[in-house]
Amino acid sequence: MALGIGCSSRPGKAPNNKTGSWRVFKPKFNHEKCTKCGMCKTICPEGCIEESEDEFFIPNESYCKGCGLCAEECPSDAITMEQEEK
């Protein structure tokens, strides 16, 4: 996004703002442990977890804010939160 004069902007949609940079911790998904139950996708307040073709669940890092709810709720402890270096 180029800077508009005086931080001005045309109307758009929320996804135009890539909010993933707010994150401090990043969820790491362990597919060995994952049972593909879909709880993480249901619980993610960002709605940023998508099911991939092989039915595993993957967060979109452009929007994941690292809240950790997916890791907290995952019944198989397949998600760990790791501090992200920027």
Binding site: S8, P11, W22
Partner: protein, 384 residues
């Protein structure tokens, strides 16, 4: 045409001829006569503008912010506590790059309550990203409003501007002022053409939320615009000089400075007193000169360096104090001269309406000659 008029009324006339479309202001001493005069002009249909009566200075500048964002030429005026109440909006106006022009009838800030003059109010907003002009007399105060609009609205700049003139000392003084005609002003200052504006048919938002990835860059752009304002002031001031004979192209102005040993630096009406003091001291053989700072933001560091290349000492007179440091102008002048072995001595004086007389200027020059500075000048030690 030469008119003998009160400073506030001269400013009001200049504002009227600048054809603002929206005025929002709240009366406060010593700014009141300006906005009263403008309210009369609007009520009498001499000025086709929307005059928004508001309940506070915060609302006054907020109304100007909105009107400017919608593409109008806007005006406000305030002083002291009123300006302090606008603090937040000042940063919003400049951050959104809206060319609002506002007169500041400089007055001390409370507490203690004081309605009298110093320049603490506008100086306290030196970091707010507004252009800051300081007028020596009412002629300059009047002319600087046209220049302020021209520079503020320049697409290379797009920043709001304070035109500061000393409360009471100038605002309530009758002086001859050469008023331009409406035709002259229209030739110099065409209608405002915003580069972007709020428009329901083509919506934009201004002053959006900036994450840490963007905020630093916005402030950089803001600072760059302020730096570009230098050039815009040079151009606008020169054009004014060519059209009307009074050249405001320089951000600083020297008086008998060419061969001076001691340079005095000051802003505002104090410069008139200093010029008289210099004439007296020159007759007595003392080589003293003045460097008047007309534009404090952008700060004319390079002009100051060039103008002072030959002097032996600099005495900076501040009608403000950055408590715990010293006068703001002294700090910045010393910064501008960084690396030069030139004594820069600061004197905080005239706060809260204390008169500064020719004899005071003479005393300060003597103090500077003996290397004594960085002090409050004129303290009544018997009440301490």
């Amino acid at each position: 045409m030469l008119e003998i008029t009160e400073g506030s009324h001269a400013v009001a006339k200049a504002v009227k001829m600048s054809r603002p479309q929206v005025i929002a202001a709240y009366p406060i001493t010593p700014q009141t006569h300006i906005v009263e005069a403008l309210a009369d002009m609007v009520a009498d249909c001499e000025l086709d503008a929307e005059y928004i009566t508001v309940e506070s200075e915060f609302s006054a500048l907020s109304a100007c912010l909105g009107a400017s964002a919608a593409g109008s030429r806007t005006y406000s005026a305030t002083t002291s506590q009123g300006l302090a109440l606008m603090f937040e909006v000042c940063f919003n106006v400049s951050g959104m790059r809206l060319p609002v022009v506002m007169t500041i009838a400089n007055r001390a800030l409370g507490a203690p309550l004081s309605i009298w003059n110093d320049q603490q109010d506008s100086i306290a907003l030196r970091d707010s990203g507004w252009l800051q002009f300081y007028a020596e007399d009412n002629q300059e105060a009047t002319d600087l409003h046209y220049i302020a609009y021209k520079v503020a609205e320049n697409p290379e700049v797009l920043l709001p501007a304070f035109v500061c003139f000393d409360g009471f000392i100038l605002s309530h003084t009758y002086e001859p002022v050469d008023m331009l005609s409406q035709e002259d002003v229209d030739r110099y200052l065409p209608a405002y053409k915003p580069v972007q504006r709020l428009d329901a048919d083509d919506p934009i938002s201004m002053g959006m939320y900036a994450t840490p990835e963007y905020y630093l860059e916005f402030r950089y752009e803001h600072d760059q615009a302020m730096k570009r304002a230098r050039n815009a002031i040079n151009k606008a001031g020169k054009e004014f000089g060519e059209m009307f004979g009074r050249d405001y192209s320089a951000l600083v102005e020297g008086y008998r400075l060419e061969d001076a040993d001691t340079a005095i630096i000051a802003m505002g009406s104090l410069c008139g007193t200093i010029k008289d003091a210099i004439d007296e001291m020159r007759s007595a053989g003392k080589k003293v000169g003045l460097l008047k700072i007309r534009c404090f933001r952008p700060f004319p560091a390079e002009e100051i360096r060039n103008a002072l290349s030959h002097v032996k000492r600099v005495a900076v007179l501040d009608k403000n104090v950055s408590v715990g440091a010293k006068g703001a102008v002294a700090i910045e002048v010393r910064d501008a001269l960084y690396g030069k072995a030139l004594p820069v001595l600061g004197y905080v004086l005239g706060l809260g309406g204390r008169d500064v007389r020719i004899s005071d200027i003479r005393n300060i020059v003597s103090l500077a000659e003996s290397g004594k500075g960085d002090q409050f000048y004129g303290l009544r030690t018997e009440v301490l």
